[in-house]
């Protein structure tokens, strides 16, 4: 089972990285870019369990470790088949 977790800075929170990347893109000529937010992507490979249970476990992982709920939001997908690299 693979969980793909995306952690983003909350909309109201300052995102210096996003601001700087936006400026970088603009100076490369990508002037159509209005806004950039930079977050984290975390791929968690889990063993066993049902999709339902995995969902609950990953939710708990996000709350406890993967995301900092003070300044970040998270969301995730679960890919049921056990795909290993």
């Amino acid at each position: 089972m693979i969980a793909r977790v995306i952690v983003t800075p909350k909309p109201v929170v300052n995102d210096p990285q996003g601001i700087t990347v936006k400026q970088g893109l603009a100076s490369l000529g990508f002037r159509e870019v209005v806004d950039v937010r930079v977050g984290k992507y975390i791929e968690v490979n889990l063993e066993g369990s049902s999709e339902h249970e995995a969902r609950q476990r990953v939710e708990a992982m996000c709350r406890q470790l993967l995301a900092n709920h003070v300044i970040e939001d998270f969301r995730f997908d679960i890919e049921p088949e056990h795909k290993r690299r």
């Binding site: 210096p16 990285q17 700087t20 990347v21 400026q23 970088g24 100076s27 930079v38």
Partner: protein, 234 residues
């Protein structure tokens, strides 16, 4: 002989390098602003340490697009001496002037401490004042200094002798325990195939005066000062 020290927004070793060049070495110094379109007749360009553009996204990722980098690329192509220190090394890798990349330290922590480096090449304009396999004491200060290259690139580097410095123990042995950041093959610095572009994570400008704890770094500055005019820039 004139050194040019590049200043990106977020660079901080510019003034330290400048101090060593100007006050310790007594060589001619000019600062190159990231927006500059010419190199003001420098014989050696230093890309110093710092967090250019905050090192946001990736170290050196945004800096490599600064206008001055185009000039530096051409200068390097013509055989001019280009020396990247710490963040400068990261920028050179991002710009493709050196192979590979620098990733997060294996410890995931920033490390500011003294390291030992064994010198593997002394035939370069940067290291001519060093002895064969001399051990230099030079501090590091980085969070992303772990050198990575794919296996093919790595073996090419090794075969062509492009590894200039490796982390070692005080006796010069290249052992895992002496590796502060997880670099492949304990690599601390590499040079391009032509031998005129050097990138290194440790900070020679922090050990060029006895009061700072050592003078091994000065050997590198002296080497460059001695050789820069002999280097043929086409």
């Amino acid at each position: 002989m004139k050194f040019g020290v590049v200043v990106f927004p977020g660079t901080w070793s510019d003034r330290d390098c400048g101090w060593v060049i100007d006050q310790v070495l007594g060589a001619e110094l000019t600062y190159l602003w990231h927006k500059d379109a010419d190199l003001k007749g420098c014989d050696c360009v230093i890309l110093p340490g710092g967090f250019a553009y905050g090192d946001y996204l990736r170290t050196g990722a945004i800096a490599r697009f600064a206008p001055v980098m185009e000039q530096i690329g051409e200068f390097a192509d013509r055989g001019g001496l280009v020396w990247g220190i710490c963040n400068g090394f990261q920028v050179l890798c991002e710009a493709g002037l050196l192979p590979g990349a620098l990733i997060r330290n294996a410890s995931l922590e920033f490390r500011c401490e003294w390291t030992n480096l064994v010198v593997e090449r002394t035939d370069l304009p940067f290291t001519s004042r060093c002895e064969e396999r001399e051990v230099l004491r030079v501090p590091i200060a980085h969070g992303e200094g772990s050198y990575f290259a794919d296996p093919a690139t790595l073996s090419r580097l090794e075969q062509r002798g492009q590894v200039v410095f490796r982390y070692c123990d005080p006796g010069g042995r290249v052992v895992p325990a002496a590796n502060p950041n997880g670099s492949l093959h304990n690599i601390a610095g590499i040079v391009n195939a032509r031998g005129n572009v050097l990138g290194m994570m440790p900070h020679p400008e922090r050990c060029s005066e006895a009061e700072l704890g050592g003078t091994d770094g000065l050997k590198l500055f002296r080497s460059v000062a001695e050789n820069a005019l002999k280097v043929l820039v086409s």
